[in-house]
């Protein structure tokens, strides 16, 4: 699935230009970073010259006269370089962290504005990795990796300048090896990149295995599938072992080749330089400089190639993050609307109208963004303020569609949804959502206390109000059973509570927010009948004076609804109140009969 997203979207230049807008604020810092880095590499490349001077002048001439000057100069340069290194590292690390922060904020904020279809199509793990790990990798790329390339390039240039200035012939000997080495490293490294990718894949598969074993442990036990699971896990770890040995071979081979080449360069320089020394053309000190350069010359080349392969690897992450940041929401407010009502993060509440609660579907057709069939066709319905609408039908018949449209989680493909007589698109999403109470079939609670969860829709709510809301939905019983009342932890995703209990709390949460529009999507499917009946009474109280939409399996829960819509195969086949539909003896009647009496 992941690969499908990226196919055919290869960005030019490894995707680096796409990062330019995000790097722009730091342009001056980057320039400074490059300047300081180049300076530091320059200093590094001239250190061997001190040895050369000492060997050629002090030792060869047996005099210590100039030594103090050399020492002072050396300390001076060393001190300067220490300062330089300190600053380079600080700017570099800050650069990494600034980019991290900026990209993470951008990604997170952007996610807050994306429509549900994005979240339906991308699973949580995938999106999470974009926000948390891609950003980190890109941060590292534009700071340390970039600096690495700059530093090593300038170091090589400096070394060669010094070598050619010192002795052209010897410098030439060292030069011949460079293309050979670069070629070998390039080829071996290419394979290593492939192996490393395989390792990462296997690693995430193993993490996935652990995740599966832990979250699915109950299923594994009741299915007595322990051995089968261990067998398949054992296969994965064995694959991992093989892959890691193979990768280690490749990387050791690469390193060994480079080290051996360095040895060869050393030997050649010694041989040819030694001859020149015996002939008296070359001084011992100069030869020693060449020997140090010869030993160190391949390291920067290896580093550069290393950084380039990292860049190739990170390319995928850049693409993925950019895809996320460039994803346009299917449901977006127009600039004019944002101008008047404010955007998701900066609402202009002073311009907001009250929401009265009339809802109307006007000739609405709808198709899900990832589907190709119309699930609604030319549907019209008027729901006056205060009415309750119930939607019934078989599993998978598309009952949530209407609700999604009312909440503007999706927008009609054709036609309009009117709120208080005006197209929903004429007001901001936030305006609508701020007047909405929504209880889901799979209720979600956040890690934290009961109180924090209930206050989510109304942060200023007092404990009294919270208890009131809880009592209304019989949630007070649940909270009283917990150790610390409102301060009890609900656990990861509400995991310490049963599904039914979570439904009750999320119902209370919705009611506490005192919404004008109430949407109950199978809000009580996991609650027992007696409690549900009690909630039913509460719903009557709560929906009084509010426009409400309810989806339910159990028909007993919706008979009081003002409008009942029966949905079959994604189409609304009947509408009317309970009495009317029963008299009609159509689909709804069938449903009721089946549920009531099928077993007699």
């Amino acid at each position: 699935m992941d690969d499908k997203l990226e196919k055919g979207k290869a960005l030019p230049w490894f995707g680096v230009p796409a990062l330019a807008p995000y790097m722009k604020p730091y342009a001056a810092k980057i320039c400074l970073m490059v300047f300081l880095g180049v300076l530091s590499s320059l200093i590094d490349s001239i250190y061997p010259l001190f040895n050369k001077y000492i060997l050629n002048n002090n030792i060869a001439n047996k005099t210590l006269d100039t030594l103090p000057i050399v020492i002072i100069l050396y300390i001076g340069i060393l001190a300067f370089q220490t300062w330089d290194n300190y600053y380079t590292m600080r700017i570099c690390s800050s650069m990494e962290l600034w980019m991290d922060r900026d990209l993470r904020n951008k990604a997170f904020d952007h996610l807050q504005t994306l429509s549900f279809s994005y979240f339906n199509q991308n699973n949580v793990g995938y999106v999470h990795a974009r926000v948390m790990s891609d950003t980190g990798k890109i941060g590292e790329l534009v700071s340390w990796r970039f600096m690495d390339i700059v530093w090593n390039l300038s170091y090589i240039v400096c070394i060669f300048v010094v070598m050619y200035v010192t002795n052209v012939k010897l410098a030439l000997y060292a030069t011949i090896f460079i293309p050979v080495a670069a070629f070998i490293i390039l080829i071996l490294q290419k394979k290593l990149v492939v192996y490393n990718r395989r390792m990462r894949e296997l690693n995430s598969r193993i993490t996935g295995d652990f995740n599966e074993a832990i979250t699915g442990v109950r299923s594994i036990k009741v299915l007595a599938a322990e051995e089968k699971m261990m067998e398949s896990f054992g296969k994965d770890t064995k694959d991992m072992y093989r892959a890691s040995v193979k990768t280690a071979h490749q990387s050791a081979f690469l390193n060994s080749s480079v080290t051996f080449l360095s040895g060869l360069i050393l030997a050649v320089v010694l041989m040819s330089g030694g001859k020149l020394t015996i002939e008296g053309v070359l001084e011992i000190g100069t030869l020693s400089v060449f020997l140090s350069y010869a030993l160190g010359i391949l390291e920067p080349i290896q580093n550069i190639i290393n950084s380039i392969s990292a860049l190739i690897t990170i390319q995928v992450n850049i693409e993925r993050l950019m895809n996320l940041l460039n994803t346009k929401s299917d449901v977006a407010d127009s600039p004019e609307i944002i101008e008047k009502y404010g955007d998701t993060f900066n609402p202009k509440k002073e311009n907001w109208e009250d929401l009265h609660g009339d809802v109307e579907f006007e000739d609405v057709s709808f198709k899900y963004p990832d589907g190709d069939e119309l699930v609604l066709e030319n549907f019209s319905l008027k729901v006056p303020q205060g009415d309750s609408v119930a939607i019934v039908g078989e599993t998978g018949a598309g009952k949530s569609t209407l609700v999604n449209l009312v909440c503007r989680f999706f927008e009609p493909t054709k036609g309009r949804v009117l709120i208080d007589g005006r197209d929903a698109r004429e007001r901001s999403q936030l305006w609508l959502h701020s007047h909405l109470g929504y209880v889901l079939q799979t209720p979600h609670l956040f890690t934290g206390t009961v109180r924090e969860n209930l206050k989510y829709g109304k942060p200023e709510a007092s404990d009294d109000e919270i208890w009131q809301a809880l009592k209304l939905v019989k949630g007070d019983v649940v909270v009283n059973k917990m150790d610390n009342g409102l301060d009890s932890d609900v656990g990861e995703g509400g995991g310490m509570l049963s599904t039914g209990e979570r439904q009750l709390l999320s119902f209370a949460r919705a009611i506490l927010a005192d919404p004008e529009l109430l949407v109950l999507d199978e809000a009580t499917s996991s609650v027992d009948t007696v409690t549900e009946r009690a909630i039913q009474e509460a719903i009557k109280v709560v929906t009084k004076g509010r426009t409400s939409f309810m989806i339910a399996h159990r028909l007993s829960t919706i008979i009081d609804a003002d409008i009942i819509l029966a949905v079959k195969d994604g189409k609304i086949v009947e509408r009317g109140n309970h009495r009317e539909l029963m008299d009609k003896k159509g689909y709804y009647y069938e449903l009721v009969k089946k549920q009531n009496a099928e077993s007699f």
Partner: protein
């Protein structure tokens, strides 16, 4: 296996079984690398002094015979003493170059073997650790899993394993390597010039101590950013899983503010840490630079005085360059090692947790036939209370105290006759699921909590595997494994027979839904596959259980997410298929239960009513009330 987690050392040694020898061999190669690396500067020094500067250099006595054997021209004798023939070598520099290349070649070869053996040891170690952990985790009881957070256990199984791998394969071998390197280079250097050796190593302890001190100091900060990152990551996770709630309540701005604040704090902590690190690296660079200066200055003085040759001067500079980096890393390695200790403890927590274990003589096979009456005999049950210790690990703090409040089940007694169907009705939290979890021994009753028997045999004496293989439970919240639909349905089967998979899917009314997926039964599901609806998941789980053909079948509210019509269809199909199967059905819907041979109504952990549908309606109790509520249409 019981004592492996006694202390850090025993556990580490237990993990190291099978990989230890690779590490030992790799360390031997690492030592060879050090020796060979140290030889080359010596050759260069010889080349510079004896060959290029034509300084007389004595041949060590042991080598005289050997060298003259190879080629008598290597040596010239002057009186008693033997000297290297500098003229000869001078005109044949390729000999020296060849020697350097040969030494380099062997060094490289050893380096390669060092890495290979290290990688093998590392691979074996990680494989063993992961396999053992995995095995242990899936055999830990459900109560343990309930008490521990998923993310935390995964972190222990991944990052902590990684830390230990790092410790053994990199830090430990590195430590040995560096110590050997230091000792050997001191020996080599001392062989050339003792006073300069003192100069060369005088700053080594300073650098190691400085590095050690620094890394110890910032270890806490590292831990702090780790925790902060974990929190930030959890925040994203929550926001994504709760996206519908965030939107429906219009709380995007709040989420944004909260995230950006944490993000900023996280960044600032890192920036502070990086400032310290930059200072450390820059200053230790400075100290290393001073070390070079010391050698160069004293070397120059000794050379001018005549106690040191230029070649040896160059050799010293090379030795120093070889030592600088490893010595600086040493402090870090030592300080990082403390992290490994914590990681071993964190893994020890898992390995020391008690797994489900059956006694040798636990009943199975014909000794414990499963197509028999199931009897709950005065069963009371209470969950263990757990609290978190400072490390966030779950600790059982109080043994069961048998009070009204804490007990989930209270004196529950009833019989499920073999081959019959029993329905269970009860309110939210009335203990229905616990009842069947106890039957499958996901939890065990203690001695004084009554007993559950099958065919008169206490299930605590029955082998768990045998028991679970014969009881098919469809859980209330079923789990899909990543794999194809067919693989999921056939997960308990030795072989995946498509006709059986299809038959099971048909009974579970899943067949039509499967047809609609593009790839049918080969559709990939689970975390990385298509998302199934609640009803589809439940039906997959039903198919998964149906295919097992167990003598006992349990449906724990397994039909709540499907509509009434599908519910009927599934039950009809099951009735035909599963004749003679003992069946337990838990449901809220009366229509799902009413045909059962017996219905048990649970209220607050007690059996409130028991009887057939008609009997219960007569009683005018809870069952009757629920029936009326549901059929008030």
């Amino acid at each position: 296996m019981n004592n492996v987690g006694k202390n850090r050392k025993t556990l580490l040694l237990y993990f190291l079984r099978g990989s230890k020898r690779y590490f030992i061999i790799s360390v031997i190669f690492a030592m060879l690398v050090s020796v060979l690396d140290l030889i080359n500067p010596k050759i260069i020094s010889f080349a510079v002094d004896c060959v290029l500067s034509k300084k007389k250099q004595k041949v060590p006595e042991f080598a005289v015979n050997l060298l003259s054997e190879i080629n008598e021209k290597f040596i010239v004798s002057e009186g008693d003493a033997y000297y290297f023939n500098s003229e000869y070598f001078g005109s044949r520099l390729y000999l020296i170059a060849g020697l350097i290349a040969t030494v380099a070649f062997f060094a490289v070869l050893c380096r390669y073997f060092f890495k290979q053996f290290n990688a093998r040891g590392e691979g074996k170690l990680v494989q063993r650790m992961r396999n053992l952990l995995y095995e242990h985790i899936i055999h830990l009881p459900v109560s343990w899993h309930n008490a521990n957070q998923t993310g935390d256990i995964i972190q222990r199984s991944t990052s902590d394993v990684e830390t230990i791998r790092n410790f053994v394969a990199e830090q430990l071998t590195n430590l040995i390597r560096v110590v050997v390197l230091i000792i050997l280079s001191v020996i080599f250097m001392a062989g050339i010039n003792v006073p300069l050796t003192f100069v060369a190593i005088i700053l080594v302890p300073v650098i190691i101590l400085y590095s050690l001190f620094f890394h110890n100091k910032i270890a806490a900060s590292f831990q702090k950013v780790d925790t902060m990152e974990g929190r930030l990551s959890a925040m994203v996770q929550e926001n994504l899983t709760g996206v519908r709630v965030v939107r429906a309540f219009g709380r995007e701005a709040y989420e944004k503010k909260r995230f950006e604040q944490s993000n900023e704090k996280y960044m600032n902590t890192w920036i502070h840490l990086m400032k310290l690190l930059s200072a450390f690296w820059a200053t230790s660079d400075f100290v290393s630079g001073l070390q070079v200066l010391l050698i160069a200055s004293f070397g120059a003085v000794f050379c001018v005085k005549g106690t040191l040759s230029p070649g040896d001067y160059i050799a010293f500079i090379s030795y120093n360059a070889m030592l600088t980096w490893p010595v600086r890393m040493l402090g870090r390695v030592i300080s990082d090692m403390s992290k490994a200790g914590i990681s071993i403890d964190r893994i020890r927590y898992i390995m020391n947790s008690k797994v489900e274990e059956d006694a040798e003589n636990a009943l199975k096979g014909d000794d414990a036939p499963m197509n028999q009456d199931i009897v709950f005999d005065n069963v009371s049950f209470e969950f263990d209370r757990v609290e978190k210790n400072a490390e966030g690990e779950a600790v059982v703090v109080s043994v069961k105290k048998h009070d009204e409040q804490a007990e989930v089940l209270k004196n529950v007694s009833f019989t499920i006759p073999a081959g019959k169907t029993v329905g269970i009705l009860g309110g939210t939290g009335s203990g229905k699921s616990t009842l069947v979890h106890l039957l499958d021994r996901l939890f065990d009753l203690t001695e004084d909590e009554g007993k559950i028997t099958i065919g008169g045999k206490d299930i605590r004496g029955i082998n768990r595997k045998w028991l679970r293989e014969n009881i098919g439970i469809v859980l209330q919240e079923p789990y899909l494994f990543s794999g194809t639909l067919a693989e999921n349905i056939a997960i308990t089967q030795k072989e995946q027979k498509m006709d059986r998979v299809k038959a099971a899917a048909k009974i579970a009314s899943l067949d039509e839904a499967v047809e609609k997926f593009g790839k049918g039964y080969e559709t990939y599901v689970g975390e990385r596959g298509v998302t199934l609806s609640g009803g589809q998941k439940q039906r997959t789980a039903i198919a998964q259980t149906v295919i097992r053909n167990t003598p006992i079948m349990i449906f724990d509210d397994s039909l709540s997410a499907v509509d009434a019509e599908t519910d009927v269809k599934i039950r009809k199909a099951l009735e035909e298929k599963a004749k003679g199967t003992t069946t337990i059905i838990i449901a809220h819907r009366i229509s799902t239960l009413m045909n059962a041979d017996k219905i048990i109504v649970l209220e607050n952990g007690r059996v409130a009513e028991e009887g057939t549908h008609d009997e219960l309606l007569q009683k005018k109790g809870i069952y009757n009330k629920v029936f009326n509520l549901q059929h008030a249409v």
